[in-house]
């Protein structure tokens, strides 16, 4: 019997996750647009543009968190450079957004403002085709995939593991950040890309565009979750966790860990790239600080806080940490990093399974009490 592809993906979702997914999509695709447009801004039920942008942004982070969980939670490979792939996707899509500005920039020229400022007369070769949405959409996938593939191949072939791998990924994203800071690199130097006007011809600040981007992000988050659920439930997923737990045994039963690691590494990078591409039009800016060391470490913290190897945990982690961050950075901006560090220590010491683990043990304790009574 041959089951169609989509059905096979969906069959990896259990009843509870299925209901949760349906509720999530109904809220994101129906309730939020309705509440936003049907109620006036002063109404209690109105969902503000600020809230939509904030949640849209966090949903992009949640996709990154799932990608990180695949490689770290299931593959046992801690990457401290995932911000690089996120930023690469963002920059790639940012090129398209820069071209969409057209002559509406402050210099009124055909070239993006920063190039005019640098006195460049034509686009660098890698900007060619960047006015085509389809080409750029393809690049959003291909660029992170290629970088991850080449880096991963050499790292995994040399059997670099554990903390050494983490340090190298950190160095990689740091080196990329320094490269993107340079004006000569052709990506706007330390200002990066900003002042976007349009996407596919539609105004980027229009509420409708924002709602569409929000909906797309929600759809992609759901799709990423279903895909990841399917992947970890497949035999591939079992080999991956086997590599995490006893790599030599995996080799001696005839699997080559190199290709298994490289596959999940590349998939993870591509997911980050797509998330980055959705992030940039919603946030309206991309600059080299996205490749900063702290950003990549924060991704690992979302996953650790939510609970590694659970897929749903990292999504929760991304939301909890980022909602806390947006509150903290408004109320006590100078204490955020201290809080983040404290959170990481508390989670590592007291909650090795993250919030999901806490919830599970609370439920077990409750069930135990109920049983006795």
């Amino acid at each position: 019997m041959h089951t169609p592809f989509t059905l096979r993906f969906l069959s990896s979702i259990d009843r509870k996750s299925g209901i949760a997914l349906a509720v999530f999509l109904a809220v994101a695709l129906l309730a939020v647009p309705l509440l936003h447009s049907a109620f006036p801004p002063e109404s209690l039920f109105h969902v503000s543009t600020y809230a939509i942008t904030l949640v849209g942004k966090i949903m992009c982070y949640a996709i990154v968190a799932i990608a990180m969980d695949l490689i770290w939670g299931y593959g046992g490979i801690l990457s401290l450079g995932h911000g690089l792939f996120f930023a690469l996707g963002g920059y790639t899509f940012g090129m398209y957004l820069m071209r969409q500005i057209g002559r509406d920039g402050s210099y009124g020229a055909d070239l993006p403002d920063f190039m005019v400022f640098l006195d460049w007369k034509e686009l660098p070769w890698y900007w060619h085709g960047s006015d085509s949405f389809l080409w750029v959409a393809l690049l959003v996938v291909l660029v992170p995939a290629l970088v991850a593939c080449i880096f991963g191949f050499f790292a995994f072939r040399s059997r670099i593991k554990g903390v050494y791998f983490s340090i190298i990924t950190q160095a990689l994203t740091y080196a990329a950040m320094l490269l993107f800071f340079r004006n000569e690199t052709g990506f706007g130097g330390n200002n990066g890309f900003t002042d976007f006007k349009r996407i596919l011809g539609y105004s980027i600040t229009a509420p409708e565009t924002r709602l569409v981007l929000f909906g797309l992000t929600a759809l992609l988050l759901a799709a990423t979750f279903v895909f990841a659920k399917w992947l970890v439930g497949s035999k591939y997923g079992r080999v991956l966790t086997a590599i995490r737990d006893a790599e030599s045994r995996v080799m001696f039963i005839g699997y080559n860990p190199l290709w298994f690691k490289l596959f999940v590494w590349t998939v993870s990078a591509v997911l980050c790239g797509i998330a980055g591409a959705l992030y940039v039009p919603q946030v309206g800016i991309i600059n080299p600080s996205e490749m900063g060391v702290a950003n990549s470490i924060e991704i690992a913290i979302w996953v650790a806080v939510g609970g590694r190897g659970t897929l749903i945990g990292p999504i929760i982690g991304a939301f909890v940490v980022n909602l806390a961050k947006s509150w903290f950075t408004v109320s006590f901006p100078e204490y955020w990093l201290f809080f983040l560090g404290l959170l990481f220590i508390v989670v590592t010491l007291l909650l090795p399974q993250g919030l999901i683990g806490l919830w599970k043990s609370l439920r077990q304790a409750r069930a135990g009490k109920g049983g006795k009574a």
Partner: protein, 278 residues
């Protein structure tokens, strides 16, 4: 020069049949024309000047059950490392059958040619169920692309179930392997070896930590495998070796001290000296 050759030059991939995704399930044409399945010739391995193996020569016949004994540091585990590709010898040759040069293959490739290995410390996938452990070990196409869409056929399920019964874990199929007892873990690892359908089994201290009853059962299992498979067993448990019968090889300081049946070996003056120390 083809693209593949260029890639091989650049990346240093040695495997001729590597298609970039792993290793297809190819039926090995193991040449047993001289009735020898494993042939080690003048193997030397040094670690920082210490010679773990010193011009080791060893030949295992097809279908043979060979026991290897020797004091600690004699080179037993290093020998298994060389055969399975974990350690590259400084010099010497290692052949599987007449044609397969083991010193040029990687660990997964060697596994695919038909050599299975049980480690000294039971090495299983603790988070996976016993059933899944066997599923992963089962002889099949082990490339990434095949693993993504692999589903178990009924006869494969039956085989896994039969092996679980054979290793006495029929009722533990769905238990996480990490929760099994030490002896059960040992057996699970042996079961994984069986699922690989190897022609040569290397077993490093398979009955360590087993109860007497389990040890007897293991000996029976090994005896039933001999003939169809070739087995190399490293053990310290002399009663177990006695039960297995067969030829015994004594390793000492990285080379073969002597070979013979257990009684001859145990009464040999040199062997006694080696074990008791001079």
């Amino acid at each position: 020069m083809s693209t593949r050759e260029v890639m091989r030059k650049i990346f240093g991939i040695e495997d001729d049949e590597d298609n970039g995704f792993g290793y297809p399930d190819r039926q090995t044409r193991l040449d047993l024309s001289h009735n020898v399945i494993l042939y080690l010739e003048d193997i030397t391995v040094s670690f920082d000047g210490f010679r773990a193996l010193n011009k080791l020569n060893l030949a295992i016949d097809a279908g043979e059950l060979r026991c290897i004994i020797g004091p600690n540091g004699a080179g037993k585990t290093t020998m298994m490392d060389v055969i399975t590709g974990k350690t590259r010898p400084d010099s010497g040759r290692a052949f599987f059958g007449q044609t397969i040069d083991l010193t040029r293959l990687t660990e997964p490739q060697i596994a695919h040619t038909g050599i299975g290995r049980k480690f000294q410390k039971p090495t299983i996938f603790e988070q996976h169920s016993a059933f899944e452990n066997l599923e992963l070990a089962m002889k099949t196409d082990k490339r990434v692309s095949k693993s993504l869409f692999a589903t178990l056929r009924d006869e494969q399920r039956d085989r896994i179930a039969a092996t679980l019964t054979q290793i006495g874990l029929g009722h533990e199929a769905d238990r996480p392997a990490g929760l099994l007892s030490h002896g059960q873990k040992q057996w699970l690892e042996i079961g994984m070896l069986l699922m690989q359908e190897p022609q040569l089994l290397l077993l490093d201290e398979p009955v360590a930590g087993m109860t007497d009853d389990e040890t007897v059962k293991t000996a029976e299992l090994f005896l039933s495998l001999a003939g169809k498979h070739s087995l190399v067993v490293v053990e310290h448990d002399m009663s177990f070796i006695e039960r297995l019968g067969g030829k015994v090889t004594v390793l000492h300081e990285g080379s073969v001290l002597m070979e013979g049946d257990l009684a001859t070996v145990q009464n040999d003056q040199r062997v006694i000296e080696v074990y008791l120390g001079r």
